[in-house]
Structures are given as structure tokens and as C-alpha cells.
């Protein structure tokens, strides 16, 4: 994803982890971000993740928001020639029991699908795996902004 310029992978990891630490500190330190935030590398490709690969219910490795929603994500970066680029990501926010839709997911695929209208490279699932709404290519922090600053406050309003 050449159009998105990221700082180094080390700085990008620090930004994502710090974002979660700050959100957690602002909402009562419910999560142990240091334990649930994991990274691994292979050659010049780096993967950072929180939560399980597939959401099958609450786990200790999810990040919990104030509304009770749980967040899991995986982000893959590639660093070469002193440039850091985004390869892919998936951010899944599962809403508390009884909410509709039951989840939101932001996906960035590593390459274009053979039928891009059917599966845009960057898309959003509004609670249905089969429905993919195109969305602009966002940085990981921009996705987190949409989750924490757009979706989460609406859940808080709905809960009142």
C-alpha cells in the first residue's frame, strides 16, 4: 500500500501500542496491554496483533472498551530500503451481547481481488461477513480512531 507512508516499523508499533495504552488509561486500566499486544517478524515483514486470530467469544487476549465491546486485530508491515509500508490488516470489534450488528470489521487485503467490486482491497464489514463496503485505505491509527472516537461513543449513547 504505497499511498500510505508510515514511519519505521518500530515507530508504528510504538504508536499503536501507545494508542491502546492511552485509551486504556483513560477508561480505568481494564486491560493489560503489555500482555495482550504481541509482535513477530519474518525477514523484513512484521506482524503485530491483539486478541485471537478468530473471534469465538471473549478471551483474556482481547482489548475491552468501556462499552464492553472487545477488539482484536492483526497488522502486517513490510520494511525495506528504509521505507515502511502497510501490507494488510484486520480490525474486528465485537459489540456487547444484544447489540446489532454484532460486529464491525475493517480489512485491508494484501493485494487487489480479481473482482475488486466484489471485494475492494480496503473494506468494512458492517456485521456481515459477506457484505464488504469499500472504504479508503486508512492507516492503523485512523482505523483505531474510527473505533474509539466514532463507533464507541455511539455505543455509549445507545446504552443510555
Amino acid at each position: 500500500m504505497e499511498s500510505i507512508v508510515l514511519p519505521s516499523s518500530r515507530d508504528t508499533i510504538a504508536q499503536v501500542r501507545t494508542y491502546l495504552l492511552r485509551q486504556d488509561a483513560d477508561t480505568g486500566n481494564k486491560n493489560n496491554v503489555y500482555n495482550i499486544f504481541k509482535t513477530t517478524t519474518s525477514q523484513n515483514v512484521l506482524y503485530m496483533t491483539v486478541g485471537p486470530s478468530f473471534d469465538k467469544g471473549p478471551t483474556d487476549s482481547h482489548f475491552y472498551l468501556e462499552s464492553g465491546s472487545r477488539l482484536s486485530f492483526g497488522i502486517t508491515l513490510c520494511e525495506s530500503n528504509r521505507r515502511c509500508s502497510l501490507v494488510s490488516y484486520r480490525f474486528q470489534l465485537n459489540l456487547p451481547e444484544g447489540h446489532s450488528p454484532s460486529f464491525y470489521r475493517f480489512d485491508l487485503n494484501d493485494k487487489a481481488h480479481e473482482t475488486p467490486l466484489f471485494e475492494p482491497r480496503c473494506h468494512f464489514h458492517p456485521g456481515l461477513d459477506e457484505v464488504r463496503l469499500p472504504c479508503p485505505a486508512l492507516t492503523p491509527l485512523e482505523v483505531l480512531d474510527r473505533i474509539f472516537l466514532v463507533i464507541e461513543p455511539q455505543l455509549a449513547v445507545a446504552a443510555r
Binding site: T18, K38, T41, S42, S53
Partner: protein, 195 residues
Amino acid sequence: MTDFIKEPAFEIGRRVEIRGPYAWFVILKPTVDVEAALDAFISEFSAFLGGPVRVISCTGPWLGKLRKDLADPASDAVVISDLDQADANFWRALDINRSGLLRSGPVILWLSSLGLADLCEHAPNIRSFVGGSIVYLGIRGDVMTASERQQRISDLESHFQVTSAEVILRAESGTLPTEPHYVEWLVLLDRGDLV
């Protein structure tokens, strides 16, 4: 030196935020992988502050350069990284010139325990700038263990009903579906070359 608490960069950032302008801190660096620890601290401290953190070196014509670096600009966060090589004369000179070092941005002194002892002995006024703001840098590892990697690989195999060997074959032939999970799978298999 065992009385100081250990804090990760994020918590140090919060302390800096609470102290406000003109804050001086001593961070006691680890004894191993010092350069990597400094790089990681700079990344995390910059992420916390939402802006770059300058690393100032004291090599060369020490005091004059240091005063200039601290003053221009005077509002950003700086880390003075090589004060451990300062001798007693330098610390004394720094102490005498302390008024010229005042700045609104936070100053982090990156020191070993021995460096802190030198500061306390030869620069008591600088020591008073720091006050109680002395912490060990806490290193929190985030690297996945081998068993965590294997568990994720097993989860992926179970979910997609495909073996890892097949995933590698399909990646090599360019027929792997476009999906974030498959990219992650290759990284977990240490086949980043196929991404």
C-alpha cells in the same frame, strides 16, 4: 540504587506530562542492549508525546554545544544520551551553568547508575532539577513466544481446513487468496519472503 521504581516508556511519559514544563528526569538505562533500549524508548516516548524527541549528544565541545542544543529549540523533548562519559569537571561546569540550561521542554538524562552517582556528587543543583524523577527504564517484551506462534498456526489450519504446507505451496505458486489471515500465516511460518 535499588530504591527507584521501574517504569515503561508510556508511564514515564505520563509522569513527564504531570510534571509539566521545565521537567528534568533521569532514566536509568538497562545494562544490556543499551542502544536498542534507547531506540525503543525514543520511539515510545515520541509516540506518547505525539511528536519527535531529539537525542542530544555531548561529544565535541561539550558544554557550549549542549547549551545551544537545549536552547534551540527550547520547547521540545530532549534526551541527553551520553552523559555517562562526563567527568567530574564537566558535571561541575554543568552545575555552575545551570541557569543557561533551563528550558520549557522536558529533559531526560539517560544515565547508568554510576552516571547518576557522578551527577549527585558533582552537580547538586542539577540533581535538584531532577528531584524525585528518577526511574529505571522498564522493558516490556512483546515478542510472541514459539508456543504462541504455534497456537495461532493451529487455529488458522483448523479454521481454513488447510495445512501450512499447502499454504506455502499456494503462496509460492501465487494462488493464495487475498486475505489478511493468510499474510499473517506466512509470517507465523517464518516465510515473510512469500508475502
